[in-house]
């Protein structure tokens, strides 16, 4: 573990607000074509933001909701920092709501010829709707300057606590798409080998053509029969299941959570689409509801461990990642974390331990870096 030495930055995850529109624009504009589910369009972003605000406010969830979260540094005299949004992430309650959600499912078939004495194991990609109606983690963006801090851990995993806290709003299975191999112009080897044959245009052109509409119709143009991987050019074969460099960080978090990473890939760029039963995910299975207590100055806080702590509220959802001590009944938080959560003493919060020792974490880089870490 490469952990910050002292006075670590503190972060707070909260629902996005209308005032976060510039931050969303910033992240959308910085993402290459095909990398993000955020439209690079102010009106579309504002609409998405409004949908998110409505989702957090409504008691009548239909499954159409998207929930967007903003991550910011906690500003206080003790920690310093600014309240700038340094990351966003989201959840779509149901993938492909009112439509179908397409994926390629990896399958292997064994062909055998007894006469020739040959068996071959053939990799195929099956166009499928398996993940329709599962919940979907979306729109993970973090400023590159914070990529190797604990910020992305909170940004990604706190969503799981939100889902665990409000299970009636989500499916029992969760998926997440990760960007696959593409060059700076958006050219994807898998798209060139498969999709282009059916569209006659490159992927960025398709993105422009669809104009942010549902992509399910794209799959209508794709072959319903399996794609036999050995028939594809080597470059395309190699791209199946591979990550775009900007997706490595969020993917590593999902991998640590226990998502299945081998079964599905994106139909456009071949990036892995992970999925798992929500109850099986590390943060969810570890989480428990206990009372929050604020440590006094005089308190000694032994047996410190890193905990993701989330309030149970819907519209006022808050989550922090902090060192704290827990018992079976309560979690003792320092003043900064306690205040950031906005809970009352004794109020029940959802807590899950994070194994920071297993993570590659270091202090915040002093300057902004040009590339954001992103997943869809």
């Amino acid at each position: 573990m490469k952990l910050m030495s002292s006075a670590p930055k503190r972060f707070l995850l909260r629902p996005c607000e209308p005032e976060d529109l510039p931050a969303l624009e910033r992240f959308a504009a910085a993402s290459p074509v095909g990398i993000t589910t955020l439209p690079n369009n102010r009106a579309a972003l504002a609409d998405r933001l409004a949908r998110s605000c409505h989702a957090f406010a409504t008691d009548d969830a239909s499954g159409e909701e998207i929930y967007l979260f903003a991550l910011q540094e906690i500003c206080s005299e003790k920690t310093g920092g600014s309240d700038k949004v340094i990351g966003i992430s989201g959840i779509a309650a149901r993938a492909g709501f009112s439509d179908r959600f397409y994926s390629f499912r990896n399958e292997f078939v064994v062909h055998r010829s007894s006469a020739l004495g040959v068996s071959t194991r053939v990799h195929t990609l099956h166009l499928c709707h398996d993940l329709t109606d599962v919940s979907l983690l979306i729109s993970f963006h973090i400023d590159a300057a914070y990529a190797h801090t604990l910020a992305p851990q909170l940004l990604s995993r706190a969503r799981l606590l939100f889902i665990a806290q409000h299970p009636e709003r989500f499916a029992d299975r969760l998926a997440a798409e990760s960007a696959g191999i593409a060059d700076d112009n958006g050219r994807c080897p898998l798209w060139d080998a498969v999709g282009r044959r059916f569209f006659g245009m490159d992927y960025p052109a398709v993105e422009r053509l669809t104009g942010g509409r549902s992509k399910s119709f794209i799959a209508d143009l794709m072959p319903p029969s399996p794609v036999y991987v050995p028939l594809l050019p080597e470059e395309a074969q190699w791209a199946i299941g591979q990550l775009h460099p900007v997706a490595e960080l969020p993917f590593s978090i999902l991998l640590d959570e226990g998502f299945d990473t081998d079964t599905y890939v994106d139909i456009f760029d071949g990036g892995p689409t992970v999925q798992e039963r929500i109850a099986m995910l590390k943060t969810v299975s570890r989480s428990r509801m206990i009372a929050a207590r604020c440590a006094e100055e005089k308190d000694l806080i032994p047996a410190l461990s890193w905990q993701i702590v989330a309030s149970s509220a819907l519209g006022q959802f808050r989550a922090v990642l902090t060192q704290a001590t827990t018992t079976l009944e309560e979690v003792t938080l320092d003043r900064v974390a306690f205040d950031a959560l906005g809970v009352m003493p004794g109020e029940r919060v959802r807590v899950a331990q994070l194994d920071v020792a297993d993570l590659d974490v270091r202090e915040v880089a002093p300057t902004d870096m040009p590339v954001n870490e992103v997943s869809r």
């Binding site: 062909h111 055998r112 006469a115 020739l116 040959v118 053939v122």
Partner: protein, 350 residues
Amino acid sequence: MNMGVTMNAVWQVRLAKSEDIAALSAFLPPATLELSDPSEHQADDQWLVAVPMAAALQSTAMGCIRVRRNIGLDQPRYWYHVGCVVHAAPDLGLFHRQRTLLIGNDYTGCTELTDIATHDRKLDISQRRMLTRLLVRSALLLLHRDHLLPFSEANPSLPAPTNKIIAGLPGLSDDLGIAPFWQGLGRHFYAGDIRLAQARFGALWLTHVAALLPRHPLVASLLNESAQAAIGCVHADAAVLQDALTELGLRAGEHVNLYDAGPVFEGDLELLRRVSGVYPRTLVVQADFEASGWCLLVKGAGSDADASNAQLCLIPARVNFQGELLISDESAQRLGLQAGDQVLAEEFKP
């Protein structure tokens, strides 16, 4: 080298005999003769040889054709069906028609004309043309004759055949026999030595390799360009055979060979009979006979036919106003024909 074979000669087309094997080995691939004996005839697998009736040639077989009926009933046979699928997104103005390949046994039960070969070293191109036409037409005439018979009399041991006749044409391959279609598709699923497989199993190697090939429809555009371009193309060396089949009314269907994507020509027997102008005739033998052309004939027609007789001949002949077939006394004696015999005949222009 031309061995005195002339286009205007009497030819006999008959079942192969053991004494023909030496002649056949001059122009059939060794593996073919190792895996099958043309002189061993079965009701559903017959080899015909074309023999010029000239003393100088000592009745040497100059060409052969194999007629296989009810194919695929003992060992499955496979072909790719070349189909079409349309992918459309009307609201985006996108419409794409794609060729598809689906492996299947669609010609099971059909009759196949195969192993069509001529002694090319002894024949010039026009002779090869004539002989190839003769072989194909003879095979079809025999099938017409049997088709006109009550089926149980023609082949009592066989299930009723379909009327479809097929003939596979070789597709594109390089000088080493390597097919671009195989390079783009099959080799990804069978990396073994195909020559060894061919030598071991003959044409059945494709049956065994089919077990390793994709079972689901393949979109042809996912293959490399060379493989796509080869689908349905005929090797230049098969132009003579292609012309002969086309002349008789067979046409490329929607199926291709698994190895080289050569097309399978097909035709309905009843339609082919009309194209060929095959009719039952009564034979008239004349001493002072003057022929107006040539006829290919087989003895027996209708209830008079003998299914076991697979002897055909190409001789000078003429049809009179009564629709009878006139031949010379010399031809009748040489071929064992008699006035009043019922024959099935068609005009043949050498």
